[in-house]
């Protein structure tokens, strides 16, 4: 037994090949994690470069072309190489089988294949950067993308390839959730993170093929001039927008649903309280995933689509908002009569509530057709989706990372530093993006390398705070990595937050190579803080 306790997935088996060829979901998850963080860093550096250029009105730092390359790569890298794979690929992979009491995901080989497909896609993107970049914006709108002289083909090829990685991960998770649960773990006893991954996976397998085929058509348009999207050959550029947003709107839910899942885990554990409205949160996840397929037209309110479409898309858009709103109230009320600890994950979750609420509410402005026409393609939209994607998903990702770090790595970071960084991220984020709402209202268009003097003050302010945001995120990641130093191991039995799901109660930190030494027996639900006391334990 003593021998067995020392064995964990990080150290056993040893050797570089045992990592590269591993079928262990936890190791694959870690590889995703470090790959994702590397691209997060790259995308972040590009973002800071853009803010530097935008600090003053003229072309002070880079030329128009360089700026256009920077913002295109920033968007594409952040979305396709970091946000989409980060939570399902990294945290989802590490945690899903643990939460289900399973030894692994349903198809371990496919899981490894997904990771390598992701790597190949990433190589395409890296090639694009080295060979001169691409300047079409991450949306690749035709006919600009079919006529641009930059490297559109390797970039879209990369997205096409990464799409398969995403599809295979989704497929794997669906089969895992359906078939790999231990006996007694019924649907309503699943942790909400699992529900969130389930919703995400459904969207992944149904929406991603459409972007894949769209990218193929775009590539063929450039290679063969097939005339599907090119008006000069009888095609229609607006059809491209329909295809693109049919995927890319649901893709927003691929990005945000896992974040909802993380928040639904963090808040009950750190409030030591049963989650408020379990079934509502679970079903709203599925309904958001479904309705998300029907609203893509709200990205095209100024494209000249028919009045009828405008009305319908605006109407359905509001129906996504309502379940999301009730979720926010549920998370808030979870704290009622609990025991709330202000740990780093909890601070991130509270920041999430603050920032995501702003992101969601500003979505209501954009859903109203008449107002959207003024705000469309301005900085208001830029601020809105950063509040949702960064203030929502990335904040939740950082929170999740801090929450499960002791579980997956077996070490504890400096919590005071983590708390200060969380505050820095919160202030830096608001300082960077709140002024952008004002810029947008005043009519500042997005994707501008230079701008009129009247916008200078707010841009300057935004650039200043972006430095603080970048620095805080950098230090918080360094703080996590610093905990991996020698002689900083936690006791394998540690459960620092008093978590109640299987990954906390039935396995060591870091977990055993086969997850559990013996198959876990379910003793209570995931959030039964009203029935069972789980003492937080924190030993070196």
């Amino acid at each position: 037994m003593a021998e067995n306790q020392k064995q964990n997935y990080l150290t056993h088996p040893k050797g570089i090949m045992s990592w590269l060829l591993t079928l262990d979901h936890k190791r694959i998850g870690l590889m995703y994690l470090f790959g994702g963080i590397a691209f997060f860093f790259l995308g972040g550096v590009l973002a800071l470069g853009m803010r530097l250029e935008l600090a003053a009105p003229g072309n002070d730092f880079v030329s128009n072309d360089t700026y256009n390359n920077m913002y295109t790569l920033h968007g594409a890298i952040m979305i396709f190489l970091f946000i989409i794979p980060a939570i399902p690929g990294a945290l989802g992979n590490i945690l899903l089988p643990l939460m289900l009491g399973a030894k692994d995901v349903a198809f371990p080989r496919l899981n490894l294949a997904s990771f390598y497909i992701y790597t190949v896609g990433a190589l395409f993107v890296m090639y694009t950067i080295i060979s001169g970049g691409v300047d079409t914006g991450w949306t690749f709108y035709t006919p600009y993308s079919t006529t641009s002289t930059s490297n559109v083909i390797p970039m879209t090829m990369g997205i096409f390839v990464i799409g398969f990685s995403s599809i295979l991960t989704g497929l794997n998770f669906i089969a895992t959730i359906h078939k790999m649960r231990i006996p007694g773990l019924t649907w309503y006893k699943l942790p909400l993170f699992v529900w969130a991954l389930y919703g995400t996976s459904l969207v992944q397998i149904t929406a991603t093929p459409v972007i894949a085929i769209t990218m193929v058509l775009l590539i063929l348009e450039r290679l063969l001039g097939i005339g599907i999207f090119d008006p000069a050959l009888g095609g229609d550029p607006v059809l491209y927008q329909h295809f693109f947003w049919f995927y890319s709107h649901p893709a927003v839910y691929i990005m945000i649903l896992p974040a909802f899942g993380i928040i639904s885990e963090i808040i009950p554990v750190h409030s030591r309280k049963k989650v408020w409205g379990y079934k509502f949160i679970a079903f709203s996840t599925l309904s958001i995933a479904f309705i998300g397929f029907l609203v893509w037209g709200h990205h095209m309110f100024t494209s000249g689509q028919s009045v009828f479409s405008q009305i319908v898309f605006s109407f359905i858009t509001y129906f996504v908002g309502i379940p999301t709103g009730v979720k926010i109230f549920s998370w808030m009320l979870t704290m009622y009569k609990g025991q709330v600890s202000f740990t780093p994950p909890m601070l991130y979750a509270l920041s999430f509530l603050f920032l995501f609420t702003i992101g969601g509410l500003t979505g209501i402005f954009l859903g109203a057709v008449a107002l959207d026409i003024h705000l469309h393609d301005t900085y208001f939209v830029v601020a809105h989706f950063h509040y949702v994607m960064q203030g929502g998903t990335i904040i939740a990702f950082l929170g999740g990372l801090h929450h499960w770090w002791p579980k997956s790595m077996g070490t504890m970071y400096n919590q005071t530093v983590a708390n200060i960084c969380c505050l820095g991220v919160f202030l830096g984020f608001n300082g960077t993006f709140f002024p952008q709402f004002l810029l947008g209202l005043r009519g500042m268009p997005r994707r501008y390398a230079t701008y009129d003097q009247q916008y200078a003050e707010l841009h300057n302010y935004s650039s200043f705070w972006s430095g603080i945001l970048g620095l805080s995120i950098f230090i918080s990641i360094m703080n996590l990595l610093w905990s991996l130093r020698k002689n900083n191991k936690l006791d394998p039995g540690t459960n620092p937050w008093g978590g109640m799901t299987l990954e906390w109660t039935h396995t060591t930190s870091p977990p055993h190579p086969h997850n559990f030494e013996e198959e876990p027996v379910l003793e209570h639900g995931p959030y039964d803080y009203d029935k069972v006391i789980v003492e937080p334990t924190f030993k070196k």
């Binding site: 030894k103 496919l110 599809i167 790999m180 991603t208 093929p209 894949a212 229609d236 059809l239």
Partner: protein
């Protein structure tokens, strides 16, 4: 070989029992089929959109396709689906030889399908009925039509993607032939054959939609 469920050699370590492994594989396969349907779904949408934009051109251009070859291919592919079903049925009934024979027949039908497709394509290459910019055919029956290259773009993309699926299917069936001949697949464990069978029926089904859309209407 014993029937002890805890340790047949084809049972992977992370499953409890054979049944769980089988059910999981089946669910994964159906999820994959859903993905495939949506992939082609995007192209069907493109077809519908352009057909409604250029209805006369579509009606005119499809007359340039060879209905006989298309029909022959439909028959070939439906037959191959039948032989695939029989292969699975045979191995369930412990008749490995018959199963092997049926797999080989499926493989040959698939090959025949691609052969006929090759004849069709090469004719179109000769006369210049090609996608997009490469389109050069200016025959009298089509001279009055707008943008016939779009019809051929969609035709080549959809049938080409379908052809790619047939080729991938052939690779998978070849592997099945190998595994069945070696005895790795047998009446106790034939999950891969059943899964590839599902895939093959999908390939068949897609063609059943493609054939009337391009050749008949």
């Amino acid at each position: 070989m014993s029937h002890d469920n805890s340790s047949p050699k084809f049972l992977q370590h992370h499953f409890h029992d054979v049944e769980q492994q089988y059910e999981t594989a089946k669910l994964g396969m159906w999820a994959f089929i859903l993905t495939e349907v949506l992939t082609f779904g995007g192209l069907f949408v493109a077809y519908v959109v352009y057909r409604s934009w250029y209805p006369e051109m579509f009606v005119g251009a499809n007359l340039l396709l060879d209905v006989n070859k298309g029909l022959l291919n439909t028959i070939v592919l439906i037959t191959s689906s039948l032989t695939m079903v029989l292969a699975v049925w045979a191995i369930q009934k412990k008749n490995q030889k018959l199963s092997l024979f049926m797999l080989i027949a499926t493989f040959l039908f698939a090959f025949m399908f691609l052969g006929i497709k090759y004849l069709e394509y090469s004719h179109k290459f000769e006369v210049g009925q090609l996608p997009g910019e490469y389109y050069s055919y200016m025959g009298p029956e089509i001279a009055h039509l707008n943008n016939p290259h779009i019809f051929f773009s969609i035709y080549f993309i959809m049938t080409g993607l379908h052809g790619l699926h047939v080729a991938i299917g052939m690779g998978l069936i070849a592997w099945l032939i190998y595994a069945t001949a070696k005895g790795n697949l047998n009446s106790e464990y034939y999950t891969p054959m059943e899964m590839i069978g599902i895939f093959w029926h999908l390939v068949d089904l897609i063609w059943i939609y493609l054939f009337p859309l391009f050749y008949l209407i």
